[in-house]
């Protein structure tokens, strides 16, 4: 029995699962979700594509994830979850309200313009730099007021989603 804490920000569910049986075309799991037990048939169409039948209801579910961040969609609805092994759940240390903040690229793109340089004072919402992707210019703004500690990219640099762009002292 493995237990996970699944949260979409608004709802947090504790899900325990154990595999009961591996059959030629599906696997049976016992699932306990917020205290309620269900027998669930899972057929893995592909790693990211599950067919789930529970109480006769049939769901085609797509699951994509990057580490602990999951995006799950079924019947047109999309859910964004964090999924954490119960054993790993500790008191979450949220980022402190003040101190060094790293501004990351929200998408891949080309740095077309950098509006700030080291030691500049910025207000929350100020444009720090412009990332171009797919013919669209996207302004990257300051998440909080503060001072630019360092600029980590140069003009015309190609960045990936999640790459560090600047360090801000707030």
């Amino acid at each position: 029995m493995v237990a996970y804490v699944v949260s979409d920000g608004n709802h947090t569910l504790k899900v325990e699962a154990s595999r009961l049986e591996v059959r030629p075309h599906d696997e049976l799991f016992q699932i306990e979700i917020d205290g309620e037990k269900k027998i669930v048939s899972i057929s893995r169409i592909s790693p990211a594509h599950l067919s789930i039948i529970v109480d006769g209801k049939s769901f085609n579910v797509e699951v994509e994830h990057f580490e602990k961040d999951y995006q799950v969609s079924t019947r047109g609805e999309v859910y964004n979850f964090s999924v954490i092994d119960e054993r790993e759940v500790t008191i979450s240390s949220s980022q402190p309200d003040s101190g060094e903040k790293i501004v990351k690229a929200p998408m891949p793109g080309l740095v077309v313009e950098i509006m700030v340089s080291e030691d500049d004072q910025v207000k929350a919402g100020d444009t720090l730099l412009v990332l171009e992707a797919m013919k669209m210019q996207n302004e990257i703004t300051a998440p909080a007021s503060g001072v630019i500690l360092s600029v980590l990219v140069k003009s015309n640099a190609k960045v990936n989603s999640g790459d560090d762009l600047l360090v801000l002292d707030t």
Partner: protein, 497 residues
């Protein structure tokens, strides 16, 4: 002149669309591609394919000399520009003419004429076609703008004479903001189009965007193929289009159709084109502009009329007379198109990456026009449009519910797309009622349902649990250059979210 070989000066879904028409007409299709597009669908679909430069479009798809050189070298008789890129640049048809190539579109003169917004406005006004109140010449100074706005009344719209795609456009609500807006619009127009000219017209609050599809041959025959309603827009970008429009009745259709035919006639315009109008709440229509090309949304017209517009374009370009008369054009049912883009459905930020799994919708009444394929890496350099879903129904209600079905069936894995956004449009009550205008998009809410929350949580748990247990030894494979990462790792690759 019989056309046997066509160079397609484009990429993505429209290049595939044109190559399909070529196949069906027995014409050899010749693709061009940037280095980034070697494995793109249009390259694989065409009969021939030639590389024309580095990834940025300024060094490849936008270089007229390379297009012409490749067309000549590969013995093409004609060039199809698609939409976007060079499609509305009069220098391309001019260069085609100089190289002895047929340009599948209007003459460069007609293209230049309709491309100049103030010239086009004058032409239409003289032809008796209603235009939006505003100035008839570019504004020389910010002061001219102020006095013009005074006489027309706020809000007003500043627009670039040479503009398009929403660039150089500013809405001004009050006199105090006009001067600075004028300066910024001028700068933007200069940088975007190399021409700082700005004009001003009345800003219509929440009009409907309705356009008329035209076919005009080189022998003076012009017909229209009904209207398309394109009021679901975000920043002047169309997102959902449909035909027929809910507010166009037979009388309005006849009047707008006649105005559009007249607009085309006075412009000396030939081939396929679109006359765009804004329609106000009194169902009065005003000329907006002529789109001198095939439109992204042309399939909705094809589905209700049965006419293949790309084939008609090629026949017109080869000098044929229109085989269709106005009385041949009817309306069979209703059609809707959703543009599927590689963008976050909430923020509309671009999302690029590898398409790991692709399942396209099918069954009754569904058409997909796609430029992507499984294992395709969506590049960062180009427009985010991936594909279009078009549904047909015996009536609008059936077309809408089919579109919802299509959006549910459509799976593009590995990147974010606008599919969830389109679902929200399709269930929006104003959209369903047909009583909507260009102000609809900000009102579309994400009506989240927690109906499937538990199932989704169970699925996530199963994947989390299984990924822990299965130790993939896939590094060796990845370094072999296979594009299999998406297949092999559950959902590990996920640039874009």
């Amino acid at each position: 002149m019989k056309i046997n070989r066509i160079l397609i000066a484009n990429r993505g879904e429209i290049a595939v669309r044109i190559a399909r028409a070529c196949y069906e007409m027995g014409i050899t299709s010749v693709a061009v591609f940037s280095e980034a597009d070697r494995s793109a669908k249009h390259v694989r679909y065409a009969d021939e394919a030639y590389e024309i430069g580095p990834p940025p479009s300024g060094q490849s798809y936008l270089v007229i000399e390379k297009i012409i050189e490749t067309a000549v070298k590969s013995n093409c008789q004609a060039v199809h520009p698609g939409y976007g890129f060079l499609a509305e640049n009069p220098l391309l048809p001019e260069a085609c003419g100089n190289a002895g190539l047929i340009f599948i579109g209007p003459t460069h003169q007609a293209m230049a004429l309709v491309g100049n917004k103030t010239e086009a406005r004058k032409l239409m006004k003289n032809a008796g076609i209603p235009i939006i109140p505003g100035v008839m010449e570019p504004l020389a100074t910010a002061d001219e703008a102020v006095s013009a706005a005074e006489s027309i009344g706020y809000p007003v719209l500043l627009k670039a004479t040479a503009g398009g795609g929403g660039k150089g456009v500013r809405v001004v609500e009050s006199p105090d903001k006009l001067k600075s807006a004028f300066v910024r619009a001028e700068a933007e127009a200069l940088s975007a189009f190399g021409n700082p000219d700005i004009y001003l017209e009345k800003y219509m609050v929440k009009p409907r965007h309705i356009e008329i599809q035209i076919l005009a041959d080189q022998h003076g025959n012009i017909i229209h193929l009904n209207e398309r309603e394109c009021s679901v827009q975000r920043r002047y970008q169309k997102l959902v289009e449909e035909s027929p429009s809910c507010i166009v009745d037979e009388d309005l259709r006849r009047r707008m159709g006649e105005a559009a035919v007249e607009a085309i006639r006075v412009s000396g315009y030939t081939n396929a084109g679109t006359v765009e109008f804004l329609v106000d709440s009194n169902r009065e229509f005003y000329f907006l502009e002529v789109n001198a090309r095939l439109q992204v949304e042309h399939p909705v017209t094809e589905l209700i009329t049965g006419v293949d517009l790309v084939k008609e374009q090629i026949k017109i370009a080869s000098g044929e007379h229109l085989s269709l008369k106005q009385t041949d054009i009817g309306i069979n049912g209703a059609a809707i198109e959703c543009r599927i883009s590689a963008e976050d459905p909430e923020t509309f930020l671009p999302s690029v990456g590898l398409i790991r799994e692709l399942i396209e919708p099918s069954g009754p009444g569904i058409r997909v026009e796609s430029g992507i394929a499984e294992d395709y890496d969506v590049p960062v350099y180009y427009d985010p449009l991936l594909s279009k879903v078009i549904t047909w129904g015996k009536d609008r209600e059936e077309a809408i519910v089919r579109m919802l079905r299509a959006l549910n069936e459509y799976k593009i894995k590995g990147i974010k797309t606008t599919i969830p956004f389109h679902r929200r449009v399709l269930v929006n009550k104003d959209f369903i009622s047909g009583n909507y205008d260009t102000g609809i998009v900000p009102q579309i809410e994400h009506s989240e349902t927690s109906d499937y929350l538990e199932i989704a949580a169970i699925a996530a748990t199963i994947v989390a649990m299984t990924d822990e247990q299965v130790k993939f030894t896939s590094t060796a494979q990845k370094t072999e250059g296979w594009k299999l990462s998406g297949r092999i790792y559950g959902g590990i690759r996920s640039i874009g979210w």
